[in-house]
């Protein structure tokens, strides 16, 4: 698990995929990218999200998520999680999850489960920043 400043760049995504390919006993990589949506709320457009995190606890909880996934899905070999902190503009990527497994079925199921656990368990907060620079705290649905 890594927390990085700002968006997850195309270069970082490429690095993760390249690294995943070195797992030659894997036949499937399931990649999830979370993107900041340009929501329209009360006629105001979201231009960015400001993320903050309890970093020590994020790392500990992410480790637990890894263990949960690996124990539940025996075909999964590796899990890569990268989450942004700080400002991420609409259209940019704020979360990457890549699960590598022997076969596609467990890769995609485990990836979906990892994303749900990340949203539920990681102490990360976000504030929407609107085009007029007003801001509001946002909760996961």
């Amino acid at each position: 698990m890594r927390l990085i400043d700002g968006p997850v760049s195309p270069g970082t995504i490429s690095e993760v995929v390249t690294k995943g390919r070195k797992n030659s006993d894997c036949g499937a990589h399931s990649l999830f990218l979370g993107q900041v949506r340009r929501d329209l709320i009360d006629e105001k457009q979201v231009k960015a999200i400001e993320y903050s995190a309890y970093e020590e606890m994020v790392i500990m909880e992410a480790d637990k998520i890894n263990k949960t996934i690996l124990s539940e899905f025996d075909d999964v070999k590796t899990i890569e999680i990268i989450h942004s902190k700080g400002l991420v503009r609409a259209g940019e990527i704020s979360l990457l999850v890549m699960v590598s497994a022997g076969h596609r079925n467990q890769a995609s199921k485990a990836c979906a489960k990892a994303v749900e656990l990340i949203k539920d368990k990681l102490p990360i907060w976000k504030k929407e920043v609107f085009e007029d620079d007003s801001q509001q705290w946002k909760q996961n649905e």
């Binding site: 979370g34 993320y51 903050s52 995190a53 309890y54 020590e56 606890m57 500990m60 989450h83 704020s94 979360l95 994303v115 990340i118 949203k119 539920d120 368990k121 990681l122 102490p123 990360i124 907060w125 976000k126 504030k127 705290w137 946002k138 909760q139 996961n140």
Partner: protein, 99 residues
């Protein structure tokens, strides 16, 4: 080995009724609560128990009671009132919103 930086591992010193142990506790506020309190980290001295700490925080930031939050002690979310040890780190965590 006893790690005296974080207090005795049993955690038995902090919370007993009538205990004279005086603790220093670090409190972190996140998300909306960092804004409400105007502080990310605050140190509380002369704390005798978790209840004592909670009252001190509510005295300093009365508006905090209007928000939903969970509390973590040393990175672990607690579900009941913990026994504190000198040097513990308490975190006030609003509902998570990662992803």
């Amino acid at each position: 080995m006893i790690n005296w930086i974080y207090g005795p591992p049993s955690g038995g010193l902090g919370g007993e009724k009538g205990s004279k142990v005086i603790m220093e506790i670090s409190v972190l506020f996140f998300g909306v609560l960092a804004e409400v309190t105007g502080a990310h980290r605050k140190h509380y001295r002369s704390i005798q128990s978790f209840g004592d700490l909670k009252h001190r925080i509510e005295d300093d930031f009365p508006e905090i009671i209007h928000y939903n939050f969970r509390i973590a002690v040393n990175n672990k979310i607690i579900n009941e009132e913990p026994l504190l040890s000198h040097g513990d780190e308490i975190a006030y965590l609003p509902p998570f919103a990662g992803g």
